[in-house]
Symmetry: C2
Subunit: 283 residues, 2 copies
Amino acid sequence: MIEVVQTVSKMHQVADRLRMAGQRIGLVPTMGYLHEGHLSLISRAIQLSDRVVVSIFVNPIQFGPNDDLSAYPRDLDRDLALIEEFGAHLAYVPDAEQMYPAGYATHVDVEGLTDHLCGLSRPGHFKGVTTVVAKLFAAVKPHVAVFGQKDAQQVLVIQRMVRDLNLDVDVVASPTIREPDGLAKSSRNVYLTPEEREQAPVLYRALERGKQLIEEGHRSAHHVVREMRAIITRAPHATIEYLEAVDMEGLAPRPHLSGRILLAGAVLFGKARLIDNISVDVP
Amino acid sequence: MIEVVQTVSKMHQVADRLRMAGQRIGLVPTMGYLHEGHLSLISRAIQLSDRVVVSIFVNPIQFGPNDDLSAYPRDLDRDLALIEEFGAHLAYVPDAEQMYPAGYATHVDVEGLTDHLCGLSRPGHFKGVTTVVAKLFAAVKPHVAVFGQKDAQQVLVIQRMVRDLNLDVDVVASPTIREPDGLAKSSRNVYLTPEEREQAPVLYRALERGKQLIEEGHRSAHHVVREMRAIITRAPHATIEYLEAVDMEGLAPRPHLSGRILLAGAVLFGKARLIDNISVDVP
């Protein structure tokens, strides 16, 4: 069985031992319930390091009061078997008491970048993310950490945190893994009813259509977003939370599209909140 | 001459090299203008580690708009000579552009503990301290860091940050170094006029009197603080910013004194804001 570390002090010891032996540590932070998206992150981490640590922790402080914390899917035994099968070397599985003991009082916050997209609809979410990622980095001491490009804003926020706090970690984004019909792989896809599942690929189709319009020469964000919205609103179970064309640097909306653009959306299908994004370089 | 490192990337390299060689790294964070208090911190760090890094950085984000940032005393050449003389091995001297580049957006904040004492009169101060200390820890990768007990609240706040963020650093507090008349050594003592300097030891005398009263059996914080205030108000140049008896754990005021008590004060003498504290165990 794969080695499982459950405490911070033990994780520090293991990390120091690996580093002293000259081993490069790769970290794949997850909330468990692993799918092929995570597999691709682990594969990337295996390419980039000598020993891959997969952390599993459903982080309560990144969920809002109306979010799906209690319903979030969990299956630790299956996850540990998959981690081993995927070729990672160690699972870091701290419990909530280990992560947020009595008297816990510290947060890491990135301003600006977190005011847009998911940050608008999920206040406090990214503060929870940056705090837990800072803790995972401190515990695991990775040389490199791999995140999914599906959470594009999360990647940018964590890269900013790493730069600002002088953390010695390479943050690598790995491409989104999709079902054959384009739906991005996500642990939350299990919430979808068969009907919702059938309609869910409209988000990716809308993003692809936006990219096509830009590549055809359209430069009005209003026009591009309107065309994207039209595709999603045709799906009766879809409710758009946001759908935007923003600049890749600051994530702020742009009326006139230029430079590197992120097309990003969050769409509700029943109990599932699905996000997706693609980037496009305006020539 | 002592080795001086000025960039984060170079500091990471040096830290990794020392750690790979099995050397224990000690860090003494300072804002420069070193005095015997810093010497004692360096001596303690030398006892506790193999290679001592002294950082020098006057951190703008821990100063408020009315604080003494521009006037804060600086003398880098003298500091570097003293660091070498004191027996430390390396100076980490980043500039503000290195520490807070364009687009800087990240802060580390400890709640609760920072609502009292200096946190009340200097809003944002501790957020600046925890942020810069998190950065220095990430850059220097110390095994142990030594801080002065004169800044008692700072020590407690940093210890909480380290615990909460799972940082693998021992935070050690080193006793306050005093002038023969009891005045705590501080870089800010240079602001004192001869008259103010003569009166400045009343802060320590008041704290000592508070301790004596508690040891004699007094348990009313109101009574103890009133007696301490009376000593300071006799000094015509002194203006009390705060003077309190708080519990050592949460730093909250206590009407009835029990357990471990911190007697702490901040007193203004002209341009100098002086702080001091002593602790006493109520039997």
